[in-house]
């Protein structure tokens, strides 16, 4: 006989903030109850003005802050300190902690008060953008575990920050770039100021002494600009030549070298035009463009970073009659570990003792708990929900399924082919054409006027600067990403936009992406007066089916239930209004009623049947399932109209997947069910050979596949860990945003092409003028920024995301 447990009556929750209502507060009241007069007042205002929709806002549905009860003892373990803690001045220790749940200025204030609250904490600094808390403490006065418990109590779950090395590299890179841009900017601004004087002099006449003076000053300012910030272009060009490819750096380096050399010669000889203002401005603007590009394309935190948060740092090993906490890395096959309710399973193993339910979302994406009893296999990373288990370890660490999955995620992300940008593809042909034209110009003018031949050829090389070409893509992408962010679509890299702009193959996960991901009451056959009785029992349970019942009928009068017993994997029974009520699976109910249960299958295979019996007679049936999102049909249709090949890839039962697939128009062969994370990865791998692949999922069990796909899109509701792997994160609930994303990507590509078109038009005009000898310094100086300016303005005004044009 399976064990049952007696459930405690539920604690009422405040209707406004969700926190428990204290004992004795308005115990006789009907209607909504509140934890305090503050909440009651706010609720009154909202309700009185008809603003109850406030409670539907997704941000409002956050759970109230509660301490997780975790001990964080592993933070004081020597092996933890060896990895994450370093000594600081004054005998202090220092570390960085990644905090979950940081989102605003008040968080900064709260976290940075730590030194006031905990004696021994020397300083606490929170970098709100990345939710990193830098903490320094005196090990003699306090411990890192105590600090972590304090933060946890405030609602910020603390994790060790594992990216210290990547962090240092990224920081060094950023600083170097900022230095270059600042120096280039300062020098360019000064050169241009002097150039104003020279242009004025060119129009009005200037004494030769000052004329030369200013030219020498310009040379003096431009030389360091070329040698210091400008050096990257020459290094890049040399690298490209050695690798026998031609990318953007080559024409840029040629233009810079030509401009500088010609200007230097002319300065020394005192005659002819100089191009220093153009050269210096070019260096500055191109560096800015490159910086924007780098920031937009920065790969997210190492995927394994946050995914490591899935496996616990320590495990409770059973040693005779005692239990010791041991780092997970130290687990060896054969050890017996105890996993309490609420803990994450630390390693793969077999259940030896105990019976409980596990959340297998990591492996199947399903939130329906699965029963585990002695003899069953459990996997690292899954969460033990109901009762303590004792498990014998079979595989741990890298050998566990989770470990292998993480390695596949990393490998997938590394193998992803970089998208060659449209502009870079042009660069090669551009260089060839420009050099050819320069030769032609030189050859044409040489017999007529040798001096001018050199000048015109150089002018050609300078004016056909690919400045606008190099800026076209980063600018369009940066603006698009900014606008997308404002509509709730967070894009991590510009190359994602270029892939999404052209129709390819799109894989969709089922649970949480096409469906709502929650167990909901979908079918109901029964009398209305039974419902309060069911709810009376279900209020005592935290099972997803209970939540489904409560969500389906929120406004029914509250009835008390007594003697409620829950059986794992079965159902509930109890007494309400003097009647004996049983709610559960057909097998469970069959055991408890005298009436034979008709074995009718649920009308829709996708539903989980629940029977309700009152006073030994079956009176109602309910069907629970994961409903398809309302907008899914539309989105699927629109994507197909754009030319995308859609496939459904799910870890759920094939029958369930078939039902969803047929409802959304997926033919046989275009959907796969019962796909493990490894199987999903294999499928993406196979499809990647045929062209760009986009994977849309809600994360954890899609991680490896998303990393391997050309673009991974994470849907709202996925675990924080999945965001590390995704290229795009849709923060709005539902998949409407998916169609917006694709539409926006298409528009962005058009803007990029238009920008490139502009810059090419300028280059053609400039080349024509240079070749025919019409160019003089003024015209050249105007043309160079003009093309860039056009591209900048066109990008700023482009409407890629958000709102109708």
């Amino acid at each position: 006989m399976t064990p049952t447990e007696l459930l405690a009556p539920p604690v009422p929750a405040c209707a406004h903030c969700g926190l428990p209502v204290p004992e004795g507060t308005g115990a006789d009241e009907t209607g909504p109850r509140f934890c305090c007069t503050g909440c009651a007042a706010v609720w009154d205002i909202l309700h009185g003005h008809g603003l109850d929709r406030y409670y539907d806002l997704p941000e409002r549905r956050l759970a109230p802050v509660q301490a997780s009860g975790r001990s964080y003892d592993e933070f004081d373990h020597p092996s933890f300190h060896a990895l994450y803690v370093r000594p600081a001045a004054g005998g202090l220790l220092e570390t960085e902690l990644y905090l979950e749940g940081v989102h605003c200025a008040s968080c900064v204030w709260l976290v940075e008060r730590a030194p006031l609250v905990i004696p021994g904490v020397a300083r606490a600094e929170l970098e709100v953008g990345r939710a990193l808390a830098r903490v320094a403490w005196d090990p003699a006065a306090t411990s890192l575990a105590a600090i972590a418990r304090f933060l946890d109590g405030l609602g910020y779950r603390a994790h060790p920050f594992r990216g210290a090395r990547m962090e240092a590299l990224r920081k060094a890179e950023d600083r170097a770039m900022l230095v270059r841009i600042g120096v280039a900017g300062a020098l360019a601004a000064n050169v241009m100021t002097v150039a104003i004087a020279l242009y004025a002099g060119w129009l009005d006449g200037m004494e030769p002494a000052y004329f030369n003076y200013f030219r020498w000053i310009s040379l003096l300012l431009t030389t360091p600009a070329l040698l210091w910030p400008g050096r990257v272009f020459f290094q890049g060009a040399l690298g490209a030549l050695r690798a026998r490819t031609l990318h953007m750096d080559v024409p840029i380096a040629v233009a810079l070298a030509a401009g500088y050399t010609r200007g230097a010669i002319n300065t020394v000889t005192g005659t002819g035009p100089i191009y220093f203002d153009g050269v210096a401005a070019l260096i500055f603007l191109l560096l800015v463009g490159r910086f924007l590009q780098q920031r937009a394309q920065r790969a997210a935190t190492n995927a394994t970073e946050l995914l490591h948060g899935l496996s616990p740092a320590t495990a409770r090993v059973v040693d005779g009659s005692a239990i010791r906490e041991v780092p997970t890395e130290a687990l060896i096959p054969g050890m017996l570990v105890e996993i309490r309710a609420g803990d994450t399973v630390p390693a793969d193993g077999v259940v030896v003792e105990g019976r409980s339910e596990l959340d297998l979302a990591l492996l199947t994406g399903e939130s329906r708990p699965k029963v585990a009893s002695p003899g069953d296999r459990v996997f690292a990373g899954t969460v033990n929900l109901a009762a303590a288990l004792r498990v014998e370890v079979e595989q741990s660490g890298e050998a566990s399924r989770l470990g292998r999955l993480l390695r596949q995620v990393e490998a997938g992300a590394g193998r992803r082919a970089p998208v060659v940008q449209a502009a870079d593809r042009l660069a090669g042909r551009f260089v060839a054409v420009v050099l050819l034209l320069a030769l032609v110009t030189f050859a044409y003018w040489w017999p007529r006027d040798p001096g001018r031949a050199v000048d015109h050829a150089i002018a050609l090389l300078i004016v056909t600067c690919p400045c606008a070409l190099a800026l076209a893509t980063p600018l369009a992408i940066t603006v698009a990403i900014g606008r997308a962010a404002r509509t709730g679509v967070l894009i991590k890299g510009g190359d994602a936009l270029e892939v999404l702009a052209r129709p390819g193959t799109l894989y969709l996960d089922k649970t949480g992406t096409l469906t709502e991901g929650r167990t909901r009451l979908v079918a109901w056959e029964g009398a209305d007066e039974i419902r309060p009785l069911i709810l009376a029992l279900e209020r005592h349970s935290t099972h997803p089916v209970a939540a489904g019942f409560l969500a389906a009928w929120p406004d029914l009068p509250v009835v008390d239930a007594a003697d409620v017993r829950q059986t794992l994997g079965g159902g509930l029974e109890g007494w309400a209004e003097g009647r004996h009520v049983v709610v559960g699976s057909p097998a469970y109910v069959a055991e408890r009623t005298t009436e034979p249960v008709a074995r009718r299958a649920a009308a829709d295979l996708a539903l989980t049947p629940v029977l309700i019996a009152v006073d030994e007679r079956i009176v109602a049936r309910a069907g629970f399932g994961d409903p398809i999102r309302a907008e899914a049909g539309d989105v699927v249709r629109r994507l197909r109209e754009r030319g995308w090949r859609l496939r459904l890839l799910s870890g759920d039962d094939p029958d369930v997947v078939r039902a969803v697939a047929s409802r959304l128009g997926f033919e046989d062969g275009s959907w796969i069910g019962a796909a493990t994370p490894e199987a999903k990865l294999a499928e993406i791998e196979r499809a990647a050979g045929e062209g760009p692949v986009v994977m849309v999922g809600d994360g954890v069990n899609d991680a490896a596949a998303m990393a391997r796909a050309s673009v991974g899109v994470a849907v709202r509701g996925g675990a924080e860990a999945s965001l590390a792997v995704a290229d795009v994160y849709l923060t709005r609930p539902g998949i409407d945003a998916l169609d917006d994303l694709v539409a926006g990507a298409e528009r962005t590509l058009r803007v990029i092409r238009r920008n490139i078109g502009f810059s090419l038009a300028y280059n053609v005009a400039g080349a024509a003028l240079a070749m025919t000898g019409v160019i003089n310094p003024l015209i050249a100086a105007v043309m160079m920024p003009a093309s860039s300016l056009t591209v900048v303005l066109a990008s700023w005004r482009s409407r890629t995301f958000g709102g109708r044009p």
């Binding site: 200025a105 900064v108 008060r113 953008g129 600042g182 120096v183 000064n190 000053i217």
Partner: protein
């Protein structure tokens, strides 16, 4: 106008000083996090040390 012979080199010296100061501040990490200091600036100044009793 010959004052330009003095003023322009002086200006260049100032530019050099400005660049040096900028490079120094970037290398010391003052530009690493531009959002949090903005938040801290508008908080009340009560310091993070316990008041002496």
């Amino acid at each position: 106008m010959s004052v330009l012979m003095i003023v322009v080199p002086l200006a260049l010296v100032l530019v050099a000083a400005a660049i040096a100061a900028y490079v120094w501040s970037v290398r010391r990490g003052q530009f690493d996090d531009l959002t949090t200091p903005a938040i801290r600036a508008i908080q009340d100044d009560e310091g993070t040390t316990k008041p002496e009793d």
